[in-house]
């Protein structure tokens, strides 16, 4: 790949979504953009970049920057986290807030598997306190296509089998004539989806009691990770918990959060970890 072409694309990824793509991963860039370039009829990435620069089209910019992101996700990813959420975090939050309502945000929720996993758990195994609670689940992603796909709740043969037991598939999904599987009305009605860039304020989304932000920070520059931390902190309701992915941390990004006691990968407002556990 020409250096100038790489630079334009790397710059777009950094500005739009905070992704830090090193030159050593130029091959990945080519692989990820190939389907988009083919669909739009560009012979080379240089043509695509030329179009990107000459036409200030935000939709096309979103498509290119989205194609450079990692979208990979699956149902019940890092399964233990979901057990903690359903058995500990949500009941504890419900007890503390006494409002009978909780709001959950899947920040960078890609194609929706995380949100639907939680919706299925709430259907299948809610503890006594959760059964009567109103729990709102909002999943957001930068990518327009992922957000639309998540909203439809349609998964192909491979996606529908990754992390999902056959019993849950049969219970919560309907097989379409195409052979794809669609989440049924019941779990779709528990979840909503919106397009949102985590680099921008989320004040319009309101406050949340639990925020999932898993495997979103990993590919980002430090400045971008700091920005995301700031955006997430601003949307925390009092006592809220943020869950990161395996191997991710807020250490060195913000002074406003500290690791939660007894919640693996969980983070809470600084100075409250011990109080929450008491």
């Amino acid at each position: 790949m020409q250096e100038t072409v790489f630079n334009v694309l790397a710059d777009l990824a950094l500005k739009a979504t905070g992704q830090a793509i090193p030159p050593s991963r130029a091959y990945l860039m080519e692989a990820r953009l190939a389907p988009l370039a083919r669909r739009e009829g560009f012979g080379t990435l240089a043509d695509l970049v030329h179009c990107l620069e000459s036409r200030q089209n935000p939709v096309f910019r979103n498509e290119v920057a989205s194609a450079l992101l990692t979208h990979d996700t699956w149902f019940f990813r890092e399964r233990a986290v979901f057990d903690t959420v359903i058995n500990a975090i949500l009941p504890e939050r419900l007890d503390a807030t006494q409002s009978g309502r909780l709001r959950v945000w899947c920040a960078g929720g890609s194609t929706g598997q995380e949100a639907y996993s939680l919706a299925m758990l709430l259907e299948d195994e809610p503890g006594a306190s959760l059964r009567s609670a109103k729990i709102e689940i909002l999943s957001t992603d930068y990518c327009k296509y992922s957000t639309e796909k998540a909203r439809l709740g349609v998964y192909n043969h491979y996606e529908a089998q990754r992390g999902l037991s056959i019993f849950r598939l049969m219970k919560h999904f309907n097989r379409m004539d195409s052979g794809d599987w669609q989440a049924n009305e019941t779990i779709r009605s528990r979840v909503s989806f919106r397009q949102h860039n985590l680099m921008e304020t989320a004040s319009g989304l309101g406050k949340f009691d639990l925020i999932f932000c898993r495997h979103v920070l990993s590919g980002m520059s430090k400045a971008a990770r700091m920005r995301v931390a700031e955006v997430l902190v601003a949307q925390m309701a009092p006592g809220a918990v943020i869950l990161l992915g395996e191997g991710e941390t807020f250490q060195g990004l913000t002074d406003l959060l500290e690791p939660a006691r007894d919640i693996r990968q969980g983070w809470v407002a600084a100075g409250t970890a011990n109080r929450a556990a008491a």
Binding site: W74, H157, Y158, Q161, R162, G163, L164, I166, M170, R175
Partner: protein, 121 residues
């Protein structure tokens, strides 16, 4: 080492599945149809069985029903694996005693995820 019996009339499918299951830490045996598989189970009951539906001599469903009636036949975790992927077929397999169901074609991620579902890994 845990054992897995792969039952499929296609040598290619057996070969692909064997490779994945070995990588998950199982020792693998293979059978080309249900009758052969039943004979092998009577000699030594495996921990896991990956089972195809359509096979000559004895198909997967008949094998499954027969095995579950055998002494010790409830022990193996049985993962059905078929191209028949409509809800009717899936329900029939589950009613007949399958623990999980994989819709063909599958890949290593799916197989690993399904083995995890039934507590094999």
């Amino acid at each position: 080492m845990r054992t897995c019996l792969i039952v499929d009339d296609s040598r290619v499918v057996r070969k692909v599945a064997s490779r994945i299951v070995r990588d998950l830490g199982f020792s693998v045996t293979e059978a080309g149809d249900g009758a052969e598989a039943l004979k092998m189970c009577r000699e030594s009951m495996p921990d896991a069985i990956l089972l195809d539906w359509n096979m000559p001599t004895m198909n997967g469903i008949d094998f499954l029903r027969a095995l579950r009636r055998e002494e010790g036949g409830k022990v193996p975790r049985i993962v059905f694996c078929s191209i028949e992927n409509d809800p009717e077929h899936i329900n029939e397999a589950l009613r007949s005693g399958a623990d999980e169901f994989i819709m063909k074609p599958f890949d290593a991620d799916i197989l690993e995820s399904k083995f995890a579902e039934v507590g094999l890994i």
